[in-house]
Symmetry: C2
Subunit: 372 residues, 2 copies
């Protein structure tokens, strides 16, 4: 556990993404990161901040988010300095979000090491998380882009994988290894071989690197995007100039995930490292994950989320998410998912939880964007 | 089909009973008979009225209901004469309700034949229903108490049965038979033998008889109840005297179902007749019945009830009852029952529909009577 924040480290929290597979809980106005999905009493964003504060210090955590969420972010994170809230005028995917933060912070502090951590993941195990980040920062200082891969605890088909290559000899990073390649979400059989192999880690989307190294990689692979980000960064801290430049540059930035624009090309060059994370991690991708996360391991449990939830259950299991004060009665339903909000109700099962996104798409098509 | 109402006939509609197994749709303030359960666009009470009006005429249909429902009944049945709404100060079961109507109507018209028909059953087949009632009235004129038993269309375990005895020779009632006995709801094996036998009919709780015959039977079996009802009837049509007599007599009336106080003893004496009803009938006892009633026979259908229902379903079957304007989304749930009301939500399956009453009991015990 760090006694002191790491001097040259800046944490970046991209807080975008609605979490469509958690509809009707998550939606445009109340995206996943603004919900308490663990019963902790606070939002995932706040949990993320609390996790990063000991590592970076309260003045060195930046949040990249949409303009619509500015007020909510500032309410959740009252300690955040105004100059560390980077507002996107519209979502342009993770390369733009993280690249913008890298470019701005690099101008402010040329040798800065940045670490980006999603605002809406769940992590348990503070000490092992901090140990992983500390190692990753050491690896980043040595000039690598470093990710943290989660040691799988089951043969999951819900995550992408990172294959470790040979060990990497960096002081202060005893577990560091090079990354051989990234692998998309596998089928179950493949997931089982990965799980048995132990060289495969879950891709948790965490990247730690020197800002200049990340920008150089972006320049090599996506030169136009890189140029746009530099232009934005150059004007960013000038209140008068920022607005016009954002309006002109931001809408044309290429939409591309940082995995493709930075991580994978970097792995091919042998410049991507990985630290295995031994902490519990979940991206809470759907209600099946949410049910599991909130159960206590029992197969026939009913997890209940919602501070005002009033549930009367008889021989039922699964999860109830309540955002109303209505009585919710379940009788003889197994692995059920019930999500009760003011204007929309979802009833499905864990097995079909992945298909929620299809409903969201259907609602868009039928002009019911008001509940999305 | 009658061209004219039957001269000496009076229809009685006992409109009591909440229908607890249809909670949270049916509840104290909005009992089953005040709902549209068939998508007809009107309540079951109104359906019942419409069914009886050609047989009795609009001035000869009485409704026995609780004081709390007076306004709703009058709103649903704007044609009902004030003197035909018989208000119970509290529910005292069917013998008191039907006996009160018999006693009042007998005083008004000594030779009247009354027929009582539940306010919350569903019947389809106007001509066969009318034919059955016409025959039953003919049998009643001959001095019998006559019921209408439904010819089973499946080996149901949800209804009680009536066993036919020998044929009865009454003019105008070619299908009349004596009743040998009543049978409580059977198990499935027994129901199958009843179904094969064809001498067993479903007990639909319809009774047609001369008011004096019914009262005499009541006098023989439940003399105190009979005396109380006569006392009430004697004062009923005197506005000044009714109130005090009701307050004194009604609360002490014995609670007993008319099956036990009249029908079964009458069957034992060979004085109970039955007309087989060949129309579709359902007492809509639970959500499984309701789902079936509103499906079109398909196993994988999703029935939707509720004039403002907005349902988005993917690979789901069962029934959705919506009393709100919320979007209801179902994904991959089979034989599901979802009942969405302003203050309570029920999620169960057809298989467990009978257990809804248990929830109602639990809510009573936990002080949540406000949603009952």
């Amino acid at each position: 556990m760090p006694q002191q924040p790491i001097d040259d480290f800046y944490a970046v929290i991209p807080a975008g993404g609605i979490g469509s597979r958690l509809w009707p809980l998550s939606r445009a106005e109340a995206p996943k990161f603004l919900h308490d999905l663990t019963g902790s009493g606070q939002t995932l964003l706040r949990d993320t901040w609390n996790r990063l504060e000991p590592l970076a210090g309260p003045d060195r955590i930046a949040v990249v988010t949409g303009r619509a969420h500015r007020a909510a972010v500032e309410r959740e994170l009252p300690g955040i300095p105004d100059h560390n809230v980077f507002l996107e005028s519209e979502p342009r995917d993770s390369s733009a979000a993280i690249g913008l933060a890298a470019a701005i912070l690099h101008r402010r502090e040329p040798d800065v090491i940045i670490g980006s951590f999603a605002a809406d993941h769940v992590i348990r195990g503070t000490r092992t998380f901090e140990f992983a980040v500390q190692q990753a920062v050491a690896v980043a200082r040595a000039g690598y882009i470093c990710t943290i891969g989660i040691q799988p605890t089951e043969p999951s088909v819900g995550f992408g994988y990172i294959r470790k290559d040979g060990e990497l000899d960096v002081d202060g990073a005893p577990e560091a290894a090079l990354v051989e390649r990234f692998v998309e979400k596998p089928d179950l059989e493949t997931a089982r071989t990965y799980y048995a192999d132990r060289a495969y880690l879950w891709n948790a989307g965490m990247f730690i690197s020197r800002a200049d190294v990340l920008l150089a990689e972006l320049a090599a692979n996506e030169p136009e995007l890189h140029a746009g980000l530099l232009e934005l960064a150059e004007a960013w801290d000038d209140r008068e100039r920022r607005g016009p430049v954002v309006d002109r540059v931001w809408p044309d930035l290429k939409k591309i995930a940082i995995d493709y624009a930075v991580a994978e090309p970097s792995a091919e060059k042998g410049r991507l490292a990985v630290i295995p994370g031994h902490f519990d991690w979940d991206d809470v991708g759907d209600f099946a994950s949410l049910a599991k996360l909130n159960s206590h391991g029992g197969k026939n449990e009913l997890a209940i989320l919602g501070s005002h939830a009033r549930v009367l259950a008889d021989a039922s299991s699964g999860i109830v998410v309540s955002q109303t004060e209505r009585i919710i009665s379940l009788i003889g339903v197994q692995d059920i998912v019930v999500v009760d909000t003011a204007d929309a109700l979802l009833v499905t099962t864990s097995e079909h939880a992945q298909r929620v996104k299809g409903v969201v798409d259907a609602l868009k098509l039928t002009g019911r964007g008001d509940v999305l």
